[in-house]
Every structure is written in structure tokens, then in C-alpha cells.
């Protein structure tokens, strides 16, 4: 098994109200922050012969509104 992190973010250019609220909170606390965007992470263990990208595209993300990247959480042995 390999462990991956699928990092899912709202697509660039789409309003992310969660990110905007977090940015406003940080500004209210005195920080000068630029854009903040809030996404989510799916950690997933998969057998080596399963393509994590295909799986993510088919089941985990909606490409109309989300972008994603995959990180391997543990180095392959």
C-alpha cells in the first residue's frame, strides 16, 4: 500500500467565501494578509497498481469548481 494526500482547492478565480472570511479574521487580528483560500485534504492508502490521479478525478474532485494535487505521504520502498 502507498499513502497519498490529495489536496483539493477551490479553482482559481472562483469566489471562496471561507477563505475570504479567514482573511478578514486575520486582518481583524492585525495581520496584513493577501488572499486566503481554504481547501481540503483526503489522505488515502492505495495498492500500488491503482492510479491515484484517475481515482481522484473520477471520485474525489469536481473539475468544474476544484483543482487538486497529489502528494505521496510516505516514500515508496
Amino acid at each position: 500500500m502507498r499513502k497519498y494526500r490529495v489536496i483539493i482547492m477551490p479553482r482559481e478565480g472562483l469566489l471562496d467565501p471561507q477563505g475570504r472570511a479567514v482573511a478578514e479574521m486575520l486582518q481583524d487580528n492585525g495581520y496584513s494578509v493577501g488572499e486566503v483560500r481554504v481547501g481540503k485534504v483526503v489522505e488515502i492508502e492505495l495498492p500500488e497498481d491503482i492510479d491515484v490521479n484517475l481515482l481522484a478525478q473520477k471520485y474525489l474532485i469536481n473539475p468544474l469548481i476544484e483543482d487538486y494535487i497529489v502528494e505521496e505521504a510516505t516514500p515508496s520502498s
Binding site: P10, L15, P17, Q18, I65
Partner: protein, 232 residues
């Protein structure tokens, strides 16, 4: 001779919560033949019209509608739509239909990040569909919404196509039917409250017609949608 009632199915996913309301309206208010369809069923050929009700299927996990769109029932819904039968999604049902790619676009979190539960006004934009034929273009309906993720999004190019093809059936408006930025409860592009597929047999809307189908509930404006469905 009395018209034979239509056979309606109301889908039940774990977390659906408007399933009984929808069933009640179809059965008791409209005297139709109606059955629940459970999310693990695979054969729905016996129905004339299937309704995906509101609620929080699978807890809205991942994204609203995402898990329901991969449930055992999904394949049957896709085939049902491909057969040209009528498929209506209300609220979470609309979200499921976009996740199934049976309707264009997606539903994002409301612009103000709040759960909005209130009556809204809808302007009828296309009354020549199986879902709106008992209405007239320009009619204004008062129907409640209750959602956190109702911000309809579709890219500009697709939006133009939706407009050209008359796929936008309802827009949020003021009580006089004027569509403006102020009377847009969730930040939906072009005030869109309900869209139909280009084939004209699948329709999704965020407002809840089943909550506006008896005077005791404060409005019966939702009835016209059901009447349209059963008038065929």
C-alpha cells in the same frame, strides 16, 4: 374517464430529509401513485417520474451530492434520464444532479457562508417545459429555500448556451418579478434558481416546491410545478 395517475418515485439516501414531505404532497395532495426508492436500488424502470428530494445525502461529505452521485442508484438514474423520463431534483437533489453530470454547472457554498432559510420569489423564465407548462413566462412564485450550498456556478460560455436554449426555468427576483442583484439569496450566477438539461427531461432547482404546496404552509405556488408534471 379519470386520468391514470403517474407513477412517481422519491429517492431516499442516508441523510435525505425532504423525502417524506415530497411523498406526502404527491400522494395526499395530488393523489398520485408514489413509492420510495432506496439508494441501493438498481431498477427504477417502473416509474414515470423520479424526484431527488432535499436534505443532506451522505452528510454532504466531500461535497453536497458527491457521494450520492456514486451510490448504487446512480447508474439507474443516468439510464432513467437517458430514456427521456422525467427527473426532478430539489435542493440537495439539484446538487446530486450536477454531480451526476445530468445537469450543467455546480452548486457552491452561499456567498455569505450562511444557511439561508426563507421565502424567495422566482420569476418563471421558460414555461414551455414539462416542469413549468402550467405556468406562464413572467409569473412570479413565492417558494422557500433552505440551503447552505446554493450558489449556482457555470462558466460564461455555458451560461450563454443555457440562455439560448431556454434551459433556465427560474431566476430569483423581487416580488414584482424584477431580476436584480439584491434579490439573489446565495450569489448564483445570473440569479439562476433552476436549470434543465438540453434534452428537456431533467430539471434541478434549489427552492422547495413541496414546502409550498398547501395554503396551511403559507404558499401553494409550488403546486403549479407538480400540476405541470402530472398534466402530460
Amino acid at each position: 374517464m379519470e386520468k391514470k395517475p403517474m407513477k412517481f418515485g422519491v429517492c431516499v439516501f442516508p441523510g435525505s430529509n425532504c423525502d417524506y414531505d415530497t411523498y406526502y404532497v404527491l400522494k395526499e395532495v395530488l393523489a398520485q401513485d408514489v413509492e420510495f426508492i432506496y439508494y441501493n436500488e438498481k431498477d427504477i424502470d417502473r416509474f414515470d417520474c423520479v424526484v431527488l428530494p432535499g436534505g443532506f445525502s451522505f452528510g454532504d461529505y466531500l461535497r453536497p451530492g458527491a457521494l450520492a452521485s456514486k451510490s448504487p442508484l446512480a447508474e439507474a438514474l443516468i439510464e432513467f434520464a437517458a430514456d427521456g423520463k422525467l427527473l426532478l431534483g430539489i435542493c440537495n437533489g439539484f446538487q446530486i444532479l450536477t454531480e451526476l453530470h445530468l445537469l450543467p454547472g455546480a452548486l457552491l457554498p452561499n456567498e455569505n457562508m450562511r444557511f439561508v432559510c426563507k421565502d424567495v420569489y422566482l420569476r418563471v423564465e421558460n414555461a414551455s417545459t414539462p416542469f413549468t407548462r402550467k405556468l406562464e413566462e413572467g409569473d412570479v412564485l413565492r417558494i422557500p429555500i433552505a440551503h447552505h450550498d446554493g450558489r449556482y456556478y457555470v462558466p460564461d460560455e455555458e451560461l450563454r448556451l443555457l440562455e439560448e436554449r431556454g434551459q433556465i426555468l427560474f431566476r430569483y427576483s423581487d416580488p414584482s418579478g424584477e431580476v436584480n442583484g439584491k434579490d439573489n439569496p446565495n450569489g448564483s450566477v445570473s440569479n439562476i434558481a433552476g436549470v434543465m438539461n438540453k434534452e428537456g427531461n431533467v430539471f434541478g432547482m434549489m427552492p422547495h416546491p413541496e414546502r409550498a404546496s398547501e395554503d396551511i404552509l403559507g404558499s401553494h405556488d409550488g403546486l403549479m410545478l407538480w400540476y405541470s408534471l402530472i398534466s402530460e
